[in-house]
């Protein structure tokens, strides 16, 4: 690809307590390029290094060895830290820790206010952010009285109001119920597809990995698989060995493939499995 990656991770090794006698190595020689418009999903167990990697994308952590470049800026250079954090916004697992104001729209305005953006522009951005996250009906409500999914969308709205090029979601759906999770995923999908924001999502829900155009699997500080969701999930046995879940539609299509060799082994969604079965059933014996 000739286009410059928006984030480039070059040979990054990271150790917590690097100076101490017992450093804990969390990342080992990781290389990764993220391009504008990507929806990259990072999966792996607790302790596999996925959150540590994500924290390198906006200079919350900097490499012990190697370099991370965000739009050509090295995250190790403190002069760039502010610009990098404007480029890459982070949303965490527990939205309550990220919400600061007592009214939804004030919370969304908090970030852009701190960036010193003129008031009429702030107002426009808040409108837009509330629109994309479907929070307009709740704009005058108190965030702590919203549902968990709504709160998480407030946190996302607060981040996107700063107009980052990249948004990183660190297990932002882990604590949500199915409806809350779907509402957050829908908002993220819109941000990626309609607003062109690059998305990096960390999750251990495998069916969420099918949302992305690229998936990487991490284990013990390394990237051990990389590809489109369909490529990655066709490695059913390896994922099982890692005790990672495979989405149920993929698992059943893989099992059927073992019985019916020309049945595709790597279907991703409920819809794909249903269509495939119906198509074959239509074929008269």
């Amino acid at each position: 690809m000739s286009e410059e990656p928006i984030i480039r991770v070059e040979n990054v090794t990271f150790a917590y307590n690097a100076e101490s006698e017992n450093p804990i190595v969390a990342l080992r020689e990781v290389n990764l390029e993220i391009y504008r418009g990507d929806y990259l999903v990072i999966v792996g167990h607790n302790g596999s290094g996925k959150s540590t990697l994500a924290k390198h994308f906006n200079a919350l952590l900097t490499p012990t060895q190697g370099d991370v470049w965000v739009e050509g800026m090295n995250t190790k250079d403190p002069r760039h830290t502010l610009d990098i954090r404007r480029t890459v916004g982070m949303v965490f697992q527990i939205p309550d820790n990220q919400i600061v104001a007592t009214i939804v729209e004030q919370d969304v305005a908090f970030g852009p206010e701190n960036l010193g953006i003129p008031p009429d522009e702030i107002a426009r951005r808040v409108e837009w952010a509330l629109e994309v996250t479907e929070l307009k009906p709740f704009r005058h409500r108190a965030p702590h009285l919203l549902s968990a999914g709504q709160k998480q969308r407030v946190a996302i709205a607060g981040i996107i109001a700063m107009k980052p090029d990249v948004i990183v979601l660190d297990e932002s759906t882990a604590m949500l119920d199915p409806v809350g999770r779907e509402s957050v995923l829908a908002a993220v999908r819109r941000l990626n597809q309609e607003e062109g924001i690059t998305v990096v999502a960390i999750t251990h829900f495998m069916h969420e990995a099918t949302e992305g155009n690229r998936v990487i699997v991490m284990e013990a500080g390394r990237i051990i698989m990389e590809g489109t969701p369909r490529e990655v999930f066709s490695h059913v046995e390896e994922l099982r060995d890692l005790m990672l879940d495979v989405p149920q539609p993929t698992e059943v299509s893989y099992e059927l493939h073992k019985l019916v060799p020309d049945f595709p082994p790597n279907l991703l969604t409920v819809q794909e499995v249903v269509e495939e079965v119906c198509r074959r059933d239509g074929r008269a014996p």
């Binding site: 167990h45 607790n46 199915p178 890692l242 059943v252 099992e255 249903v274 074959r280 074929r283």
Partner: protein, 293 residues
Amino acid sequence: MTSANEPIIQVNDLHHRYLRGTPLEVVALKGVTMEIYPGEAVGIIGRTGAGKSTIVQHFNGLIRPRERGKVIVDGMDLADPDIDIRALRQKVGLVFQYPEQQLFERYVGDDVAFGPLKMGLPMDEVRERVREAMEMVGLGFEEFKDRYTFSLSGGEMRKAAMAGVLALRPKILILDESTSGVDPRSRKELLSRIDYLHRTRGLTVIFVSPNMEDMAGLVDRIYVIDDGRTVMSGTTREIFSQPEKLVQHGLGIPQITEIVHELGRRGKVPPTTVLTVQEGKEVLWKILNSSGT
């Protein structure tokens, strides 16, 4: 004392308000009814804020029924101020959503031993129980007893908290979303260990979660709670066979269940509710076979 055919937990038309009588009053429960029998594994599901945690916090006396409704646990009426609350808490072990917040001792072994020590058990008995509880959750006693509690990983902390509860040898174990936010490997390990205890020791398990996939393999029956009320109850299969109703209550069904339901709607199979990928595979295999592929 209860016999096997009497419920070990009985909840009848339970109501609860938080901050009762203040301007901030919140009505949490508006009529919950359920019965749980000794040795059962029962799921309580519902969207965030439905009242699930408020219900189970009644079961070990963290919240006492003071309004309408009754809670009877192993023969004790929890509205009675004179019941032995310590005896109740030995019977009913509750593991919270963030079990790591239940840890407080410096060393893992001491943390697990805290409950049995408070019961006034002799030291060798305490040690035996700690060993047993740690092994049950998959924390090797020798390897972990002298570790610093706060050097554990998130998954290990949850196991340690669970061991602390199991060391009391409860008759009833309640897991209140104790596995959300845990990675798949630790979650599977914990769930299979709980399932084992349930099957081999007759432990009564109450499992609270918004996640239907977790429920599918683990529980026999499910109560669905919404807006402070019991809105559905039945066997796991009965509950999963009503996806439209579940969606109304903010819940979903496992994707494999959905696949087979959709094929049923399209007339490819008689209406069937499957719970696991294995069951789903059998159904799809039959369809493919009958069409000659």
